[in-house]
């Protein structure tokens, strides 16, 4: 071991500064490596060692502590309880303060004659280390909290809001987050000194602000930049900020694309940003940029999905030409919105023409099956002019499916519907699909006698078309096998089955189409409970029980005619 560092002489980690019971003699402290200053209870200096003389050049025996020593020592000395030392009260509390550019700890020790010896220990390095450790802990905690706050949302506006408010609270007086322009306008999020968030879309030219244009373009790469507070345009300053003293523009780096820029603002009465604050701001900006970039990508993907999905979702049905239609759809898995079941209602050009209803089931589940339902629905729509002949329509659809690269097949129900007087006439054809059920006004339930081959497998397909007439209050219910094959029930493993569908339907005489669909769907869903089920689709075609001229479909003017 070499020469021990000074700190080892006194264990400065001890807070209870137990001084020696026997106060050291002048000889003992005279040679001590620490500056030692002895003062009487009245504050007069009565002794000092050479180290103390070097540190406090004005101090000499006979001077007053208040004149020659810093106020923090003189003050601490005054606060010490005067009197002789007791075993419990050998010292007073340590005091801290600056001497020149160093930080010292002063430790009082009472001597036998009632004076106090102040041992001055240079504490500068430890203090610095403690301060930077605290600072580092604070920053680490802040970055961890910031990360979890930023990662929580995939909503861009929300991420900008979190970024601005964290920055305003922890890094500056106010903060502004600027995102790359959207449709010619720049999204800007302000957080002022009061923590209030304001979102705005601004028509402005970012190139006027040094560093901002580059940060938003992501090129050329720029470090954070000081900008002249006088040159900041008004749209970058929160309304409640009294005046800008200093400002820094920090780029928010995204995943390969610029996520925007963070502008930190401080008021005039606060000091400017230090270098370490600027570095820290960059660490924060890296996290905020990554979160904003992820949110942006998610929003773009979600927008694409929504657009593509729009045509795959089942349509909202309503009354057409005096006939009620209602549909319900539930995909198999909670993560799916679309699946292999589908339905459509194509209204006739006028009340004298037939309206065509199609309900079908593509083999398979999820998105892939949904894509094929989209093709079938488009093909059916194109074939509508041929709807007068269901068999021919199915033939053409069958050919189109066999010739496509899909290996899947489908089952299908077609119904052409027309109301004459108060009776609704249906021509119903099955393409390999379970036949629809009809509930009569008296509650009897009948199966519609139609049969046919499934579509997309065989070159030659056959089918029989059934004619059905619905009197007022009667309903024809079409559904997919997801309803009958829903597994569940009280014991958890039983199929819902045709009988239960028929039983449910028997209670639906005279009910509006929507109520019929809801009733059967609710019973099937309750049956399935949390159990797995295939896609479910139902369509009800109902002859209105009450003679009204217009329907409550939410689209007409809603006049009710009694």
């Amino acid at each position: 071991m070499g020469a021990p560092p000074r700190a080892l002489f006194v264990d400065t980690s001890q807070h209870a500064l137990a001084g020696p019971r026997e106060a050291p003699s002048a000889e003992a402290w005279g040679a001590a490596p620490y500056p030692v200053l002895v003062a009487d209870p009245q504050g007069g200096v009565v002794g000092l060692n050479p180290a103390a003389a070097e540190l406090l050049p004005a101090a000499a025996v006979g001077t007053r502590l208040a004149d020659v020593a810093p106020a923090w020592i003189a003050g601490a000395h005054e606060r010490l309880t005067p009197g002789r030392p007791t075993p419990d009260d050998a010292t007073g509390p340590a005091a801290h303060g600056c001497l020149g550019d160093r930080v010292f700890q002063g430790r009082p020790t009472r001597t036998d004659d009632g004076n106090v010896a102040w041992w001055l220990v240079d504490d500068t390095d430890r203090r610095k280390a403690e301060v930077s450790l605290d600072e580092e802990r604070r920053r680490t905690a802040f970055l961890a909290a910031a990360s979890s706050a930023l990662l929580a949302s995939l909503n861009l506006e929300r991420c900008m809001e979190v970024t601005a408010s964290l920055a305003a609270e922890h890094l500056a007086d106010a903060a502004v987050v600027v995102a790359p322009a959207r449709g010619g306008r720049i999204p800007v999020t302000h957080c002022g000194t009061d923590g209030r968030i304001v979102h705005r879309l601004v028509d402005a030219e970012p190139t006027g602000v040094p560093g901002l244009g580059e940060a938003l373009r992501g090129f050329p790469p720029v470090p954070s930049r000081w900008i002249d507070p006088a040159g900041i345009p008004a749209w970058l300053v929160p309304e409640d900020l009294p005046g800008v003293g200093s400002a820094v523009v920090t780029p928010l780096p995204g995943h390969g694309v610029p996520a925007g820029a963070l502008i930190l603002l401080r008021t005039e009465d606060r000091r400017a940003f230090s270098e370490s604050e600027e570095i820290f701001a960059r660490l924060f900006a890296a996290r905020a940029g990554a979160a904003m970039s992820a949110a942006r990508m998610y929003a773009e993907q979600a927008a694409i999905t929504t657009t593509l999905m729009r045509d795959l979702l089942p349509p909202t049905l309503r009354a057409v030409h005096g006939v009620e239609y209602a549909g319900a759809y539930r995909p198999s898995a909670e993560s799916d919105r679309v699946g292999g079941d589908f339905y459509d209602v194509h209204p006739g050009a006028d009340a004298d023409r037939e309206t065509m209803v199609a309900l079908g089931d593509v083999c398979g589940k999820g998105l892939e099956a949904a894509v094929l339902t989209g093709k079938i629905r488009n093909t059916l729509q194109a074939l509508l002019p041929l709807a007068g002949d269901h068999q021919r329509l199915l033939d053409l659809l069958n050919g189109a499916l066999i010739n496509s690269h899909h290996t899947r097949f489908a089952t299908l129900l077609l119904a052409s519907v027309r109301r004459v007087e108060r009776t609704v006439h249906l021509r119903v054809t099955s393409g390999g699909h379970p036949p629809p059920l009809v509930v009569r006004a008296d509650g009897r339930v009948e199966r519609v006698e139609t049969r046919g081959s499934l579509v997309g497998v065989f070159w030659n397909i056959t089918s029989t078309t059934a004619h059905v007439e619905l009197a007022p209050g009667e309903t024809c219910l079409m559904f997919t096998d997801g309803v009958t094959e829903a597994r569940g029930g009280p014991l958890g493993d039983e199929m819902f089955g045709h009988d239960r569908v028929e039983e449910a339907l028997a209670h639906c005489a005279g009910m509006p189409a929507e109520a019929v669909v809801d009733h059967v769907r609710m019973l099937a869903e309750q049956w399935a409970g949390r159990g797995r089920h295939d896609d479910m689709a139902l369509v009800a075609v109902t002859a209105p029980r009450h003679a009204h001229l217009s329907a409550v479909d939410g689209h007409t003017r809603g006049r009710y005619t009694a």
């Binding site: 909670e334 009204h548 009710y560």
Partner: protein
């Protein structure tokens, strides 16, 4: 422009007219009643809550009293849905364009009672909020995806039946984890909202008007670093009683059915349909027992048993027929102290319960 007539229709009269129309399954008459009421000066919120909401409540009580079939109840609900939609799209009564923040109204997954949430959505929309109504049975992943995509400020989450409480808990935690506060409503959360508090919801509202007031006051965003695990809210779950009952539901149900047949030989002659009804009843008992274990609330289960007793009595089934099932479950679950306590307290309730028809939920939380 709204024309206020000198004579506003009396609320009771409007309710009676709507009830008659709904009872007859006459959607058009129901719609006409509501539009007439609004047209003659009743404000839309009153019509939504104090007419449609009130009649829907009556639908529930009439069903409980066996004066309405399940199909008729569903039909009445469907008619109400359509009438609410017609009012919302009516050019003269559709309400203001949104001027306030975006809020999302949704039913917890599995909850098909959508009308209370629908009425709330309409009330909020008419008070100027931009409302996204996601409907019944919203899977939590869909709800969260919606929050990401829209940046909605608040979620109003509705649950009517107690067995949905664990799912509601997952939904509440998930919303808060993405920084969106939740106001919970619906009969499932208890008459005083105690389950909403237990599940850590940011607020609870007894009815739609109160929910609107909660939104007016504003909700603070959940503290993100403080986002919790399930057991942080409900430390009693570490005893695994809830997990056990849910995990062995099917076995418990079968054993109880077999046990009942042993005790009550005529049951062996039951038709499949009767057997299925019995199994359904035991299923409901188990689901409510699980919910009571989840939120550690004996009253939840006791209230359910009292209500079931009323429903059975209204159908000429003696309420005491519930007791053997409870006794069998108590024997089977005797090693589980909380379940044992809950079952014992319910049996006590059953022994002293005098029938009084009512039905929890069904429209009254709005």
């Amino acid at each position: 422009m709204t024309v206020h007539h000198a004579t506003r229709p009396d609320l009771d009269t409007v309710r009676d007219r709507l009830w008659t129309a709904v009872r007859a399954g006459d959607e058009y008459q129901a719609g006409a009643t509501v539009l007439d009421a609004v047209g003659s000066g009743l404000d839309a919120e009153t019509v939504l809550l104090d007419v449609i909401g009130a009649v829907q409540l009556r639908v529930g009580t009439e069903w409980a009293a066996n004066r309405l079939t399940v199909a008729e109840e569903h039909a009445a609900t469907a008619i109400h849905e359509r009438v609410v939609a017609a009012l919302a799209h009516h050019p003269e009564h559709r309400g203001p364009a949104p001027t306030r923040a975006r809020v999302t109204v949704a039913c917890v997954d599995g909850e098909w009672h959508a009308l209370p949430a629908r009425l709330l959505a309409e009330v909020l929309r008419r008070r100027g909020w931009q409302v996204d109504f996601l409907g019944a049975q919203v899977p939590t992943p869909h709800l969260i995806a919606h929050l990401h995509q829209t940046g909605s400020r608040v979620v109003a989450l509705s649950a009517t039946l107690s067995p949905h409480l664990p799912t509601a808990h997952a939904a509440i935690t998930a919303c808060q984890a993405v920084g969106v506060p939740v106001v919970a409503g619906g009969a499932a959360f208890g008459p005083d909202g105690r389950h909403a508090r237990a599940l850590g919801a940011d607020a609870w509202a007894a009815h739609a008007r109160e929910a609107a007031e909660v939104l007016d006051r504003g909700l603070t965003r959940p503290d993100l670093p403080a986002v919790r695990q399930t057991v942080d809210d409900l430390p009693h779950l570490t005893d695994q009683e809830y997990t056990m009952v849910v995990g062995t539901r099917r076995e418990l149900l079968k054993e109880t059915l077999v046990g009942l047949e042993d005790r009550f030989p005529p049951m062996r002659a039951y038709s499949d349909r009767q057997r299925q009804r019995t199994a359904e009843d035991i299923g409901h008992i188990l689901d409510h027992l699980a919910a009571a274990l989840y939120v550690a609330d004996e009253d939840l289960f006791r209230d359910f048993i009292a209500w079931t007793a009323d429903v059975l009595t209204a159908r000429d089934v003696p309420a005491r027929s519930l007791d053997p099932a409870l006794e069998l479950l108590a024997q089977r679950l005797q090693d589980f102290p909380r379940a044992t306590r809950i079952l014992a307290s319910a049996r006590e309730t059953l022994a002293t319960h005098s029938p009084e028809p009512r039905k929890p939920g069904d429209g009254q939380h709005v």
